[in-house]
Symmetry: C2
Subunit: 258 residues, 2 copies
């Protein structure tokens, strides 16, 4: 079995290709949303996509762990653990907006080392591999310089994603930024990697929401951690702060800390 990250990224892109076929089959058809324990909508497409990805991983890398949004986790103490969000932006998907993504991340010894973000409906893909430059549709990308919060463009998915305790901290940062924008879902991190957005600040995120994105942001020159500057892995607290220009990291953390 390979432990070469480039080979694992090639496999991850095969997973993304397969996921596309399933998600696009259901996109903009009448897919009923049912209620998960946390009341977020889950669709047949979500579950069918994750099942397909898990089967492919089990067949190729039976010793690797898997942590998925829909179907739980196995072997999370393995050296390599795949972290899967078959459809990030389920509400976006259900409402026919082409901004949903498939997130395929890989942890090695609890560190995010590879990630693919695929946007099936708009045919855009980011690939991040530890130690290499992030690729957007096959082309290298980098974050842009932005050294002060008040000139930064910020994204978050929704004001209701923040806990009551955390919202005031986020709102301070949003208020200090030049413009706060909503609703980009996972794509916000890709826009940051490409140098069009400076800060993404979110909360109540699961590992499937962020593991794939860390190598994409960092391979483009950015920094991505919890609000307290801790690495993002299976044990993180759900807060996520990504900045394009590393000099913004400490400044944003200070505003969040109050």
């Amino acid at each position: 079995m390979t432990t070469d990250l480039n080979a694992l990224a090639t496999f991850a892109e095969e997973l993304a290709d397969a996921a596309r076929t399933v998600s696009l089959k259901y996109f903009r058809t009448a897919v009923d949303a049912d209620a998960k324990a946390d009341a977020s909508p889950v669709t047949i497409a979500d579950r069918e996509t994750e099942t397909l990805l898990r089967d492919m991983i089990e067949a190729q890398f039976p010793n690797h762990g898997i942590f998925g949004e829909e179907h739980g986790s196995v072997r999370t103490d393995a050296e390599f653990v795949w972290v899967l969000d078959p459809i990030d932006g389920t509400k976006t998907f259900i409402t026919g907006r082409p901004m949903f993504g498939t997130l395929i991340g890989l942890l090695r010894d609890s560190r995010a080392v590879m990630g693919v973000m695929d946007m099936p409906a708009i045919n855009e893909r980011w690939v991040g591999i530890d130690g290499t430059t992030t690729l957007f549709n096959g082309q290298p990308v980098s974050t842009r310089p932005c050294q002060s919060i008040n000139t930064s463009w910020l994204y978050a998915t929704s004001p209701t994603m923040f806990t009551e305790d955390h919202f005031p901290a986020f709102d301070r940062l949003r208020d200090a930024s030049r413009y706060g924008n909503w609703g980009a879902e996972c794509m916000a991190y890709g826009l940051l990697a490409n140098g069009w957005v400076d800060i993404v600040c979110e909360d109540t995120m699961g590992p499937y929401d962020y593991v794939a994105l860390v190598p994409i942001v960092e391979g483009a020159g950015g920094v991505m951690t919890t609000w307290a500057g801790q690495p993002l892995n299976l044990d993180s607290d759900g807060t996520v702060l990504a900045v394009g220009d590393p000099t913004l990291h400490i400044k944003a953390m200070e505003i969040l800390a109050g």
Copy 2:
């Protein structure tokens, strides 16, 4: 000069084709945002697109009025008045998200009778003509049934688009809906026309933000007015309520009224 709405819609689609060329030329290039009086970002692309559209209208229909977001208004007392938003979702455009649109609306004696919403980056277009069925990429579409607010899917662009006075009313409606979603910009109204979303509720909107959308929503079977149920024209108060199922209209207005 024709006063046939179908012919005017064909012309509006030619305007949309021309606008696409300009906006896509600038999309995801480094376009500086400067500050308008209201502090929203305006780009070269915005202004160049509107200038092109105005020139085309002046050449073809010199007696028609024009009301544009960027370059002001002329002959707004004419029988026909074109209402233009060259790039709806400027912040979205500037941050590289493919969700911006071009809105081309037509008022006849102050009533919204024709509208085109074009999404250049994702190649999607809605056309609404008074008295006919709305077309999405050339295919007829219709809203879906949804008879209670608590099963409805709702969109708004941003929580910060509401005045302080209006936000609590909006928030009651969002809270009463099944799910509230953010950031779809003008596309939210198209998603509603296609039967994937049930309510769009917004505030502080200009005529260029809504005139083109009224015939699209109504031609698909929906209802679109101010929060108080008044027609949307150049003199409206900036509140906008669109529902897919007409039976939601009075229910939503009651919740907004408190």
